[in-house]
Amino acid sequence: MSDHRLPKPDRPWMMRTYAGHSTAAKSNELYRGNLAKGQTGLSIAFDLPTQTGYDAGDELARGEVGKVGVPVAHRGDMKVLLDGIPLDQMNTSMTINATAAWLLGLYIVAAEEQGATEDQLQGTTQNDIIKEFLARGTYAFPPAPSMRLIADMVAYTVTNVPKWNPINICSYHLQEAGATPIQEIAYAMSNAIAVLDAVRDRVDESLMPQVFSRISFFVNAGVRFIEEHAKLRAMSILWDELGRERYGVTDDKLRRFRYGVQVNSLGLTEAQPENNVQRIVLETLAVTLGRDARARAIQLPAWNEALGLPRPWDQQWSLRIQQVMAFETDILDYPDIFEGSKVMDGLVAEMLEGSRAEMAVVAEHGGAVEAVPYMKAELVESHRARIRKIETGEMKVVGINDYRETEHSPLTDDSEGGILVVDSAVEAQQTEALVKWRSERDQAAVDAALAEVARVAETPDENIMPSTIAAARAGATTGEWSATLRNAFGEYRAPTGVGEAAGSFAGDEELEGLRDEVDRVSEAIGRRIRILVGKPGLDGHSNGAEQIAVRARDAGMDVVYEGIRLTPSQIAASAVQEGVHVIGLSILSGSHRELIPSVIGALKEAGAGDVPVVVGGIIPDQDVPELTAAGVAAVYTPKDYNLTEIISEIVALVAERNGVAQSA
């Protein structure tokens, strides 16, 4: 038998599609369709209210219900969502974090109703809060109680739901927020240490090897796919080391680095969107080519990632990419093809060295929880550097800063521009359905169950899971469970990281020129130009807002940026109190048609109707006229990649509105 062939090809990885929208029933239909097409696992996308713990009807849920995921408010919704899908066999990944304990509770109850027992359940709750603070934004409680909830879930599942992955440590989102490969590795590993240390306090020491083996990762793979593969090999080495040295795990099998992946989406472009298919294919190679660090589960974005939500056909195309890769190519036929490669070994060694050094810095800050402000600032800075490279052309992005001439793309020709548009009636329907649900349940049982959740929350020695499952069974809602814990734990706003981003632009003449212009206009107005960068709604996409804020500062403006998740009235109040000359709103979650007019309405009410408003984010072309009619002065989308140019236009707008003559 030769050692360059496997005796029998490997089994393919699990194939998933990250999906969910509108209602539980609509999403169930979608899941069944995907499974029929050969998808082998489920991956549930929840809407932002469910992820942050609000029910439809709550002020904070406005415009967001059913938009970017499915709303699941109670066991009834969960039942409909999973109807006809046998939970004793299915492997389900749930992208849920702050409210993970609750959604796992609903899942367990839905399984119970199907006749499946806890020990049969397989799947993953993402449940990684540190990366929510750093990059993803769907947190609800302060760091300490959040870590406790995670530890409780790990401790509960390791004995009761033994096939469950209670947490997926995510480096995926860090790369999407601008992280370098080394930051991705170092922050993910430091995060894992924080979680394991927290669990160690809550389980019997003898269970730690078992606990260690239940921790899986969710990573990213960018288009520099050779380097990205090296990154994954480095992670598996570090993980093995950590298991052996820090947690004394002696069984090799329990130290295996297991990961799922979604390939890079940050680099997928709005311009010439068909090119994204090549990018996705190449990125998939990073996580499939080398057997020693191959993904266990893969989900791929679609060609229209930067345009809006994918339709079933778009998702099918991405699923087919996986199937071609697994079933037509010979990728699965061989042992590790990089073994003995000098290039690969060299890259891995570089990654190991760099990430060990960065892990040491995090440890010096007191570990991952304490280092959140540090890591956040580092990410914003890395993203600043990345964008700068695109602007200067040092990093080529085909169709963006090079090869821009293009034929017309037929892919976006349909009336909705080649994306899925969620019916806005969904929000009212879900709100009404919830009223009905509440009127039909045993209210006294719900009250008692929630009182018990509150009691356990205040009792750190007890595990939150049993009372949570009981509340799910009693018919409590996502918003009620979350409000109970918000009440016990308090709330939290994560750091924005923008204050520290460096911004040295020696020799950048365009920016130098802009600074002169900012000085000139400021002097004419009497005050330095002041901009408020605001993020209305539950949207956690902060990259654009952060980078605009940093560049506006570097151009010489005074910048007020309060971070994500603000209500329209909060933004209006800040604008008035701060006396800003212009407001820049950033929305990527698809709720701009509801929220932008709300902000403008709130500004008028607060007496600041004359302050110009510009908007940026994922705004489909067909929505622009509506926003302009509502009073928006300008709209920017990912096509507008040059930040200095955007800021120049904003300065010109401020000059015009304040009657400052154009410069000669």
Partner: protein, 319 residues
């Protein structure tokens, strides 16, 4: 005829019309010469000379190194003060970038507020070209706002010189330090830092080290004979603790000082500084030299606001 903008805004503040505050601040921040007369009118309208008494608001300075927890503390302080139905204005100062002149005004993000609450104002300021921990308009803003709000909180940048500067504009200075930082003890012992009115040790939730820091600072202050300074340990993360003790300490200090005398002395000192900045050696010589000027300024009507004092000094120098 309608009243000129500056005095109109000033009068509205004096009548505790809090909706005038943002515009008043826009005016005070303006460096346009066209706004200069309005600016002076506004300050005059909120001065003791016109009000007939010192503005009633208590100006509280919050200083201490970056990261000590000043903004987070202000967030819970504001909540507690508002619960007691006291109106609050916060001026949060952040540094400007030397390279670009721009700034990221980040303190606001740490301070929770209810947008429907008309009795709370949070305003950020950038230091601009000034060194130290305050912005050029901070003093004027604090003075004007103290005519309208019950409490005016000023958060400094918190580096170097600011510790002394804030004492020039606040009635009560709180220095905020985090446990185990050690700087505060050294600063106090070496005299770099003036002895604060209230010393706040934050992050008491971190447990023993916070209690120890509180005891050490207390002992150090006693050994320096600073028996009046209270030392309070607080936690600003839920469940917050020590906040009402802090408010009591700040209130007690505010009541213990002779505001009329102290504020007048601060205004006079400021007037002299501004006179010297504006009129240079020539101006000072005209007043008979620095020592004579110091005497001269003490003869000024103590109820005048700073620009009026400067104007009066100029008149005397020219006569």
């Amino acid at each position: 005829m309608t009243e000129p903008r500056g005095s109109a805004l000033g009068h509205r503040l004096a009548e505790r019309d809090l909706t005038a505050a943002p515009d008043a601040l826009n005016l005070l921040e303006s460096s346009a010469s066209a706004d200069s007369a309005d600016r002076q009118d506004l300050l005059k309208a909120t001065s003791p000379a016109v009000l007939g008494h010192e503005p009633a608001g208590h100006v509280v300075g919050i200083t201490g190194p970056p990261g000590a927890g000043k903004s987070t503390l202000i967030s819970v302080l504001v909540r507690e003060l508002r619960a007691a139905d006291r109106s609050v204005a916060v001026i949060a100062v952040d540094p400007s970038s030397k390279r670009s002149g721009g700034s990221l005004l980040g303190d606001r993000a740490r301070i929770d507020f209810d947008p429907a609450d008309k009795n709370l104002l949070i305003r950020s300021m950038a230091t601009g070209d000034r060194l130290g921990g305050l912005a050029r308009p901070t003093r004027d803003a604090a003075a004007a706002l103290s005519a309208a709000y019950d409490v005016v909180i000023v958060e400094t940048v918190g580096v170097g010189q600011s510790e002394t500067e804030i004492a020039d504009i606040a009635d009560t200075v709180c220095v905020v330090v985090q446990p185990a930082s050690g700087d505060a003890l050294q600063f106090i012992k070496s005299g770099i830092m003036e002895i604060p009115d209230v010393l706040v040790v934050t992050k008491a939730d971190l447990g023993q080290i916070a209690q120890r820091a509180r005891r050490d600072l207390h002992a150090a202050l006693r050994s320096l004979g600073a028996t009046k300074t209270s030392v309070v340990a607080v936690s600003s993360v839920p469940p917050a603790s020590g906040i009402s003790d802090l408010i009591d300490a700040v209130d007690a200090h505010g009541e213990s000082v002779d505001l009329v005398t102290e504020r007048a002395a601060r205004r006079r000192a400021q007037a002299l500084t501004e006179f010297a900045e504006e009129h240079g050696r020539k101006g000072m010589t005209a007043l008979g030299g620095r020592r004579a000027a110091v005497k001269e300024v003490k003869t000024l009507d103590p109820t005048l606001d700073v620009p009026q004092m400067v104007a009066e000094l100029l008149r005397r120098a020219e006569s």
